[in-house]
Every structure is written in structure tokens, then in C-alpha cells.
Symmetry: C2
Subunit: 270 residues, 2 copies
């Protein structure tokens, strides 16, 4: 089963475009876990997964939040991925890339060592850096197109032959999609750009959309501009806004309620 089949299967079953970002943070997980558990981070992730697995279409793990703990963090990353139900896609958000020889190693790391279904990659190095990821035909590579941060404008909006760079990147993503395994990362905080990118990419390329929740992206705009003609092919991520919504013993219940409410709000506009 390839990425799209797996993603669409769960998305239909759970009636959801919501992706929950498992971005653990020592300072934000409930203090009580450090007393009650020998493995507070893993137990935190497991609780969030248990509480949300019937209402999400994907889980996303941002690698920075794991790497910061060194080899223990990598162990936690591996154990968390192992715990995620096999029918839900795992997106490893590492925004990696390098020249071809090294990009092969990153692709192997993410897709083989860590068994990711999908990854995020940075386009700055061009096609030969992207190709080793796209060689994994059953996986999906979400290429950074227009990011959600304020400084996205610094380079991504610069005009190149009268088009902003991010649109040139979007056109390249469409061109690179020969194996039907490209996606694009587009921030929810810029709905105008989201609409333009969806138009360039057409209806068959999935968008990974961070930036609703804590970053302030508007849900209605995100859904209407980011989904395709069938209200699909968008993976809308929220991390901190869901997983750190509660900080007491009932944290996973509060996270579930937040996730449920966001899933339903998304569905209202599809």
C-alpha cells in the first residue's frame, strides 16, 4: 500500500484531515508525569495517540524536539513511531536535505531506519537533492514551498521572472511528481499563497499545512483554499494547540476534545 492509499484510507475512516504534531517539550508536558512514570515522554506520546487515533489522518513528529535529547531522543522517536497504529501515516518533519550522495543517506534514514511514510524536505539545493527521496515510490516527500513563519518573505517571496520564488518551487514540485509521490508544505498563516499553490499543483498533490492553532492560521480559509475539488488532499497540522492544551492528569482527555473540535471545524468547511 502506498502513502496516498494509506492516507486516504484513514482519512475516510476517521473522517478527518487533522494531523496531530507530537512535538514533545520538557517544559510543557504535565509535571505529574515526571512523578508517576519512568518514561514520561513516551507515556505522554502514547496517551495522546490513544486519545486521538480515531479522529486523525496522520501524526507528524518534528525531529528537532527529539534530537535535542541526543540518543535518548532517537530512542523515543523510534518507540513513538512503533506505537502509532500501522494504518495511520507517520510524517517525519525534519526539513532535511543535502547534495545527492548525502541526500540518499537522509532518505534511507527517514524511510528505512525510522520507517516514515512521509517526510518534509527543503528544496534550496534543487532537483538532484530531491531525487533520492522521490526514488521511494511508495512514500511521500513534502517539499517546503511557502512556510508559515514571518520571514518566509525573505527569499520565498522574491520575484523570479515576475513570479515569487515559492511559485517557481510549486511548479517544480508539479514537474517532479512523476511517481505521484510529491507533496508541498504550505503555511496556513498565508491563505492567499495557499490558494495559488493549490491552483498550481492541481487536485492530486497533497498539501501538509502547519500554522493553524498556536500560529494563528484561520481554519475556514485553510480548508477552503488548501483542499482539492473534493475537499481532500490536505493534511492540516496542529501540535502545541492540541497536545499541550491541558497540563494536569486529564491532559489526554483535554487534547482529545481539542482535536475533536478542530477536526469537526475543518469538516464543516470541506
Amino acid at each position: 500500500m502506498n502513502f496516498k492509499q494509506k492516507f486516504m484510507g484513514t482519512s475516510h475512516k476517521n473522517n478527518s484531515l487533522l494531523c496531530v504534531g507530537l512535538d514533545i517539550d520538557e517544559d510543557k508536558i504535565p509535571k505529574s508525569l515526571f512523578e508517576s512514570s519512568k518514561h514520561p515522554f513516551l507515556d505522554f506520546n502514547k496517551s495522546i495517540i490513544d486519545a486521538t487515533k480515531d479522529i486523525v489522518c496522520a501524526y507528524k513528529l518534528n525531529m528537532a524536539f527529539y534530537e535535542v535529547f541526543g540518543k535518548n531522543g532517537i530512542d523515543l522517536l523510534e518507540k513513538t513511531i512503533e506505537y502509532i497504529p500501522k494504518d495511520i501515516v507517520v510524517i517525519l518533519d525534519g526539513k532535511r536535505n543535502d547534495i545527492g550522495n548525502t541526500a540518499c543517506k537522509y532518505a534511507k534514514t527517514l524511510f528505512e531506519t525510522f520507517s516514515a511514510d512521509a517526510v518534509t524536505i527543503n528544496p534550496y539545493l534543487g532537483k538532484d537533492s530531491v531525487t533520492p527521496f522521490l526514488a521511494y515510490k511508495d512514500k511521500c516527500s513534502f517539499i517546503l514551498c511557502r512556510t508559515s513563519n514571518a520571514s518566509a518573505v525573505d527569499f520565498q517571496d522574491l520575484n523570479v521572472s515576475s513570479l515569487p520564488l515559492y511559485q517557481i518551487v510549486a511548479k517544480k514540485i508539479k514537474e517532479w511528481n512523476e511517481n505521484d509521490n510529491c507533496g508541498a508544505v504550505v503555511g496556513a498563516t498565508y491563505p492567499g499563497e495557499l490558494k495559488i499553490i493549490r491552483t498550481i499543483l492541481g487536485d492530486h498533490i497533497p498539501l501538509l499545512i502547519p500554522g493553524v492553532g498556536k500560529q494563528g492560521g484561520d481554519v475556514e480559509n485553510t480548508v477552503k483554499k488548501g483542499t482539492n475539488n473534493k475537499g481532500e488532499m490536505a493534511i492540516i497540522n496542529s501540535s502545541r494547540g492540541i497536545i499541550f492544551a491541558g497540563n494536569d492528569e486529564d491532559f489526554s482527555e483535554i487534547s482529545r476534545n481539542k482535536a475533536l473540535s478542530l477536526r469537526n471545524e475543518i469538516n464543516k468547511y470541506r
Copy 2:
């Protein structure tokens, strides 16, 4: 002691602009090590370090080659860094970046968890993604400017207000250098671009230059165009060409000879 002081100290002492890239590779290290050693990768790195530490100015570890082994790879990365003499700068080549909140975690990972003296980062996300790295005033952040691969042209050479994007990036690097802790990554395979970038950056910003050796960058051109007015501020990296030069029991001696010969060739043109 900040990055520049440490780098210049060793560079003078060892009369060297040569950086050796410790990019381990299962398929390329001597087979005999798998029989004679319980820790073949670590022992390989230790042998290369022992054989070259008096003739280099820096060691660079490309993180892809370690991450591919999961938590064992991170352990190896940490132990290798620990083994490098404290007066030689360690460059962690991860080409990371993300939005501000997450970039803080990457900066913490690389500079604190792994104790790097310098890192490589990707500029595509703009200033707010770079700032968390630059907040480490005593460290150095080498920002990808013009990479050494063939597809570098895809985006980096696109004209923006009649300048190629990589030159806009170079101008930003100069602007972001308020704490005197920026550097730029420029491939040796493009000497024309190297010269232009050195001119934009002036004489005080260090360049990390991969691409001599296996990738075919010309040494004379690299030195003449990449160093500053004093023949300094360039860190010229070779990985595979040095560390995998031999594949028998005398591999470290062969690597030393290769490194010595490249250091001397570099010095001839300074």
C-alpha cells in the same frame, strides 16, 4: 574563546585550511576493522583523527552518515566529537532549519547537546529561522549560499532583481553578521561564484568550501578565490577523498598522506 579564535589558533598552529570530513560509510571503511574491532566505526574515526590532527584546521561531521544508524549513530557522533582534540573546531553539517520555535531546538541540539563549534544551516525559511542560531555568539553558523551540486542552479541561480538568488543570500549573510558569527557554504565546484561571494562578504566572514576531492573542485581556484586578502578565512573540506583513500590495514597512514598532500597543495596557492 569564540569560534574564530579557536579556528584561527589551530589554523595557524597546523598551518592549515584543510577540514577533514568524517563521513563514515559501512561500505567504504576497511573490512578488516569489522574483524579486529568491537567498535569499527568509532575506531575508524579515532584512527583518522589521530593520523590527521596535526595537519587540519577543523573536522566536519555530516549528520546524515550518523543518523542512518539510529540511536547507535548518535552515540557514535557523540563519542567521535568527544575524541576530537579540544583545540580543533567541530563543524556539524546538518543543513537544518525550521520556523523560529523549532529552530531554537535545533540550535540547542547542535550547539549544546552535541557541543558543536559550528553548524551548517539552510536559508530558505529566512531571517527568523536563522536568528536562533546566531544567538549563540561564540559559535559559527555557516549558511548555505551556493552549494556544490549540479542542481544548485535550479533555484540558487534564478535571477531576483537581476541578481542570482545565491548573491541575495550572500548579501543577507553579510547583513545578519552583527555578532561576527556568520559563515557561508560555497561549493568548490563553482569557482566563479566563489569569487563573487568572497567579494560580497568581504574579508572577515569564513567560507566553508566542500567539493574539492571526489567532487572535482580545483584546488588552485578554490584557494585563490575563496580565501581573504591574507589567504585565510576559508575552510576547505575533503571527506571521501581522504578518509577512504586506503582500505587496508594501513588506511590511516594513507589518509594522512592524502591529507598532508592536500594541505600542502592548498598552502602553495595562499
